[in-house]
């Protein structure tokens, strides 16, 4: 039958497309995308590190880079740290071009099918395989399903994987693309001031040509104004002359699903809530989880065993991966949410003192000049010791800061 596939992938974003690009040529693979065009619409701040991109793509000259940053400015109340990140290769990318870049690989190098305008409304897993149903009533069959249907994911529940997100684990975000003469294209800005952005941060990621992705994310359980209002207040204060080119809401779920696999099923990227709990950055972990899902798909197709037990290898690989420090990040996030304003003051002012004027390098994420700032480090350790009753969490923070 024509509608029979080895792998059905739901979602043509970075996670789903990257998973497809990893699956061996020769298998029959189809990617379903709800929208009409791959890479549109984009709801994303588009920040990522070149260093991460190089782990997943060959070559160095990526056609989808918009802008590379030299500095990051971290703001908290009246304080700010300016950190040199020239070596880290932090960039903003053009998500539309980025997704189309991966899609081309999937179609041209692998010969897989990408079907746009195809909304998968239901999926069923049984002993014979996976059945998915499109909005128009068409039915498709697969040996396994990779679910990459994004933040608005609801297919995991259909195949027995709980994916309900608590308000605490959700960032409500709003972004405006602005054009303003005062934007410095070399500098990305994070503002953690709690009154500005409760339980989250505000970002300014320049796109080049004095344009920037300017957005805000607050923890959804916080009792505060809606993000669109908070962002507009900030814009009127700091970028009063700016022109708004486009604006849109967005949501980022964090705290990865307890189980990201099931019988014949794997969940990747934002559907698995694999975004970084602190930064909310989701592209790198979509690629990371997509990569492992693709690898495991190859293995189970070869072995012809699609049991949950066999697919659990996907979660093992994801969690063993060194770059994947989501659990630690989530512990830090939960701690930050619990902190009183006084504790937050201490935390952020110490971080700002520690980082201001420093250089952060790329490949090992180490602080070059840290050995020269033992005194500052000592201060931070002291303050944290007094702050944290929980020694385990304290250790975690230390690891995070100096890994």
């Amino acid at each position: 039958m024509n509608n029979n596939y080895d792998v059905i992938i739901v979602g043509g974003g970075p996670g789903g497309l990257y998973a497809a690009s990893v699956i061996d040529k020769g298998y029959k693979v189809i990617v379903f995308e709800k929208d009409e065009v791959i890479g549109e619409p984009i709801i994303c701040a588009e920040g990522i590190s070149n260093y991460i991109l190089k782990q997943f793509f060959n070559g160095t000259d990526f056609p989808f880079i918009r802008n590379t940053f030299k500095k990051v400015k971290i703001k908290y109340k009246g304080y700010e740290a300016n950190v040199d990140i020239t070596d880290m290769g932090v960039v903003t990318i053009d998500r539309t071009k980025f997704e189309q870049y991966i899609a081309r690989k999937v179609q041209e190098e692998k010969g897989f099918e990408i079907r746009t305008n195809s909304f998968v409304v239901d999926a069923k897993v049984d002993d014979d395989g996976v059945r998915v149903f499109l909005e128009n009533g068409e039915e498709f069959f697969g040996k396994i399903i990779i679910i990459a249907d994004g933040v608005e994911s609801y297919l995991p529940g259909k195949v027995g994987i709980n994916s309900v997100c608590s308000l605490k684990d959700m960032y409500s975000c709003y972004q405006k693309i602005i054009s303003d003469g005062t934007i410095d294209d070399d500098v990305m800005i994070f503002d953690f001031t709690p009154s500005v952005t409760p339980g989250g941060y505000l970002w300014v990621f320049p796109r080049g040509n004095k344009e920037a992705n300017f957005g805000i994310g607050v923890t959804s359980s916080e009792d505060c104004e809606k993000p669109y209002k908070l962002l507009e207040e900030y814009r009127q204060k700091y970028y009063p002359e700016s022109k708004i080119l486009r604006e849109f809401p967005g949501c980022v779920g964090v705290n990865q699903l307890a189980k990201i696999y099931g019988e014949r099923a794997m969940v990747v990227g934002d559907s698995a809530r694999a975004a970084d709990p602190i930064t909310g950055g989701g592209i790198d972990n979509a690629l990371r989880t997509g990569n492992f899902a693709g690898i495991v798909a190859n293995l189970v197709l070869k072995g012809n065993d699609f049991s949950a037990r066999r697919l659990s290898q996907y979660q093992e690989l994801v969690e063993k991966d060194n770059g994947y420090s989501l659990k630690k990040q989530n512990q830090l996030r939960e701690m930050l949410i619990e902190m009183s304003e006084e504790e937050l003051d201490k935390f952020f002012i110490s971080i700002i003192n520690l980082f201001n004027g420093k250089t952060v390098s790329s490949d090992i994420y180490s602080l070059y000049s840290l050995k020269f700032s033992l005194k500052t480090a000592g201060m931070v350790i002291n303050f944290m010791g007094s702050l944290m009753k929980d020694k385990y969490l304290l250790k975690m923070i230390m690891k995070l800061l100096w890994k």
């Binding site: 619409p41 305008n117 933040v151 609801y154 309900v164 993000p227 809401p249 967005g250």
Partner: protein, 59 residues
């Protein structure tokens, strides 16, 4: 059509947050609109999460 939650389609940017937090998964995000199926338990989480204030109670 009197559902408990009403969607202001002008404000809704189809970001999917409401779908993610809905404990009974009655919200479905189509390509160009949200659909709220029967079974809503009136927990108001979708209203809370919505970044643009597009969802409200039908009162």
């Amino acid at each position: 059509m009197d559902s408990y939650i009403i969607v202001d389609e002008k404000k809704c940017g189809l970001c999917g947050g409401c779908v993610a937090v809905c404990p009974v998964k009655v919200i479905i995000m189509y390509k160009d609109h949200l659909k709220i199926n029967d079974g809503c338990i009136k927990c108001d989480k979708c209203i809370k999460v919505c970044p643009s204030g597009a969802l409200s109670k039908n009162e």
